[in-house]
Structure formats: C-alpha cells, structure tokens
Amino acid sequence: MSRWRVALLVARKDLAIEWRSRVVLDQVLPFAGVTMVLFAFALDSDAVLERVAPGLVWLAVLFSLLVLVQRAFAVEAADGALDALRVAGVDPMSIYWGKGLSLALQLLVLEALLLAAAVVLYGAEVPAEGVVLLVTTSITATPGLAAVGTLYGGLAAGFTGRETLLPLLVLPAVAPVLIGATRAVESALGTAGAATSDGWPWVGLLTVFAVAFGVGGSLAFGPLIDE
C-alpha cells in the first residue's frame, strides 16, 4: 500500500468524523464568526475595518487553525487511536499527510466563509482582477498552515493537560503566513490602493513556506510522535 493511498484513507477518515460530528460546523465556524464580530467592536470604525479586513480574516483563520488542530488530535487521542496506528506500523509520514490534507480542506472552506464574512461585515470588496490572486493566495497559504498545525498538533497530542503548548509553538511559526497572506489579499482587494501585481511576491513567500514546512514536517512528524 503506497504512502499516498494510506494518507488518503486517513484524510477520508478524518473528514468522515468531521462530517458526522459536525464540530467544525457547529463550533469552529461560529467561533470564527464571533471573532470577526469582536474585531469590529474593538476597532469601531468602518474605514479602519475596511483597511484591515484582510489581516482580520487571516487572524481569524489562525485562531480557528488552533481549534481545528486540537480537535483533529483529540479525536485520535480519545481512545488511543494514534497509538494504535503507530503500533500497527502505519507510516507516520502517511498519517501526517492524511491529517494535514483533511485539515487543509477544512481550512479552505473556513477561509472562503470568513472572506465572505469580511465582505458582509467590513465592507471589503473583491474586484474581478483580484480573484485569481485571491484564490492562489488561499491555495498556497493553506498547506503551510496545515503543515505547521499538524506537526505541532501531533507533538502536543501526546501530552494531555499540555494543550497550552500548541499556540506557543504554532503562532510564531506561522507568522510569515499571516504577513504574506495578508499582504497578498490586500493586493487582491486593492486595499488602500494596493496594486494586484504587488501580491505575487507574497504568493512566492507562501509557496516557499509551504514547501519548507511540508518537507520539514514530513521528516519530523515520525520522530516527534514516536515514543
């Protein structure tokens, strides 16, 4: 059985669990939504909100990422399933790719909805020429987030009661994604007069980040979850 097939099985299993339990739909999405509303309370100015809308979207994505990662590994830890996978000799790299893939898909859905929320709540506008950049940004930023989240989620999963470790490890590591994705979306939306073409170098940064942490995570995940 090839690595990819096992990874796809793991991803499908994770998505089936999410579909069945509806935790993302019932809890993570409302959480992300309320975060967006609270940002508005804190900033309290239509002009400012429109200016910072891209950053707020990605900030809400990062917070939701933490919740999603915790959930993805709570499912494994509840009855020792991750241990069972390891004991059965299932390749850690496949587990990493599978869980990362499922996380990435959930993040993509979340990003689309949060962007829609920004349009509704913050008055952000999506010009036609920015759509390609917007979609590309999302597609390049998400694997990086999923790679970091899955990696450190797996590390923290082995230690019940140390869940506070996850944000401490994840947030500094994904800072480049927050910076890059925010600037790229600003360019796509034309926020504060940014040109669409300015966004592409940031997409380059996001791609390098995703590749670096994808490779690093694939190699590091096994040793980190191994006993």
Partner: protein, 226 residues
C-alpha cells in the same frame, strides 16, 4: 479445555513467536530478564504473573514495539533485532484502550483498518460477523457501544487488517459476565480462522479455560506450567 483441536497444532509448524533469553529494558530497568518462550500457530497462550512481572513488556516485545537489548527473537518469521518494522503490521496489540473513533460506526472503524491492507468488502463483513458486531450493531457509532462491544469491535479491526498474531493485555478487564463469554467465543472463532493469541490476564479462571496453554511470567522470565 473446549477449544477445537487445531489441525496445524498436530504438525510442528514454524513457531509464531520464538524468544530466546530475551532481555528488554524499560528505561534502565530490565523488564524482561532473559525470557524464553515459543508459541506455535493456533495456540492461545495465557501469560500469568503478578504486576510488574514483565507480561506487558513481553507483549510489547512481540509486537515489535520494544527492542531486544540481548537475546534473540523471531515473530512470524521476522527477526526482532533487525526487522521490527516488518513485524508490526502483522501483529495486533490490544491494551487498555481500543483505538476506536467514537464518531464513526462500527463498520466504518473496521473498514478503515481493513482498507489500510486493502481488505475487500466481503472481508469486512466477515470480520464483523466473526467478532459478533455485525448486523444492526455495525451501523452504531462506536461511542454508543458497551465495553464488551467496543472490545469486540477492536478485535474486528485486528481481523480486518489481517493481524496473524494477537497480543491481548487484560482483554477481560471492565467487561460483565455476558461480555466475557462473548469475548471468549470470538477469540476461539479467531483462532479457528487462523490467528494465534497470547493473552496476559489476571482473570485466571476465565482465561485459563480459554487458553490452550498457560505459562508463568516471574521477574522478567518465563516458566512453563505443566
């Protein structure tokens, strides 16, 4: 003993487990201190002994999880010193947790494990039936099951992923009388279908009637019982 005589047991086949003077460490502590044991195909071997005698470590060594520091060992034909990774997929180790996903149904759990080795739908159905979690029970989410049903679902996962050697650590713990009876029936069914089982248990009476052979584990060593 009411276990059906296994035809394979009559001919001395290649042993499933063969440890010779095995030493394994938990940290610096020799949990196994020169254990020698041989398990033939189709056996149900009961390990008995006090807490801390090394029963669990013996199971974990056989599962390829704990390396041998000294001595020799082969499981299912693989050398434990050099081929532990090859041992793991063919061996099923069941400890206190069942490794089930509570939100998935019994069938989905079993299918996931089966799919990892490319098991067909028929194989999944057979696994469910053999461990008595088929029919309507198969469509119930795992978190709604009783302790016995969860244990049997975990065993069905072992069937589905074609584990040939089952290493069970206190499988009767936490089950009621009916659950224990059903567990024993399913274990016999598994052996009839070709599995070999090593059980570590405190429930001596219970496990003793199930086992085809009993050995004592004392201070990290194995002593045969006549």
């Amino acid at each position: 003993m009411d276990a059906a005589p296994d035809p394979e047991h009559e001919h001395p086949a290649r042993p499933v487990v063969e440890l010779t003077d095995a030493v394994a460490l938990l940290g610096p502590y020799p949990a196994l201190a020169g254990a020698t044991i041989r398990v033939d195909p189709g056996e149900i071997v009961l390990l008995r002994g006090p807490n801390g005698a090394g029963k669990t470590t013996l199971l974990r060594v056989c599962a390829g999880l704990v390396p041998l520091s000294r001595g020799e060992g082969r499981v299912l034909g693989h050398d434990l010193r050099t081929e532990r990774a090859a041992v793991r997929p063919r061996v099923g180790l069941l400890g206190h947790s069942n490794g089930l996903y509570g939100d998935l149904t019994v069938r989905e759990n079993v299918r996931f494990w089966g799919a990892l080795v490319g098991a067909t739908g028929d194989e999944i159905d057979a696994a469910l039936e053999r461990m008595a979690v088929g029919g309507r029970l198969a469509e119930v989410p795992a978190r709604k099951l009783s302790a016995g049903q969860r244990r049997r679902t975990a065993l069905a996962c072992l069937v589905a992923r074609r584990a040939q050697l089952w290493l069970l650590d206190e499988p009767h713990a936490g089950l009621d009388a009916a659950g224990r009876d059903q567990l024993d029936d399913t274990l016999r069914a598994a052996v009839a279908a070709g599995a070999t089982i090593v059980v570590a248990s405190h429930e001596l009476e219970r496990a003793g009637s199930l086992a085809t052979r009993t050995v004592d584990v004392v201070a990290g060593q194995v002593r045969s019982v006549a």
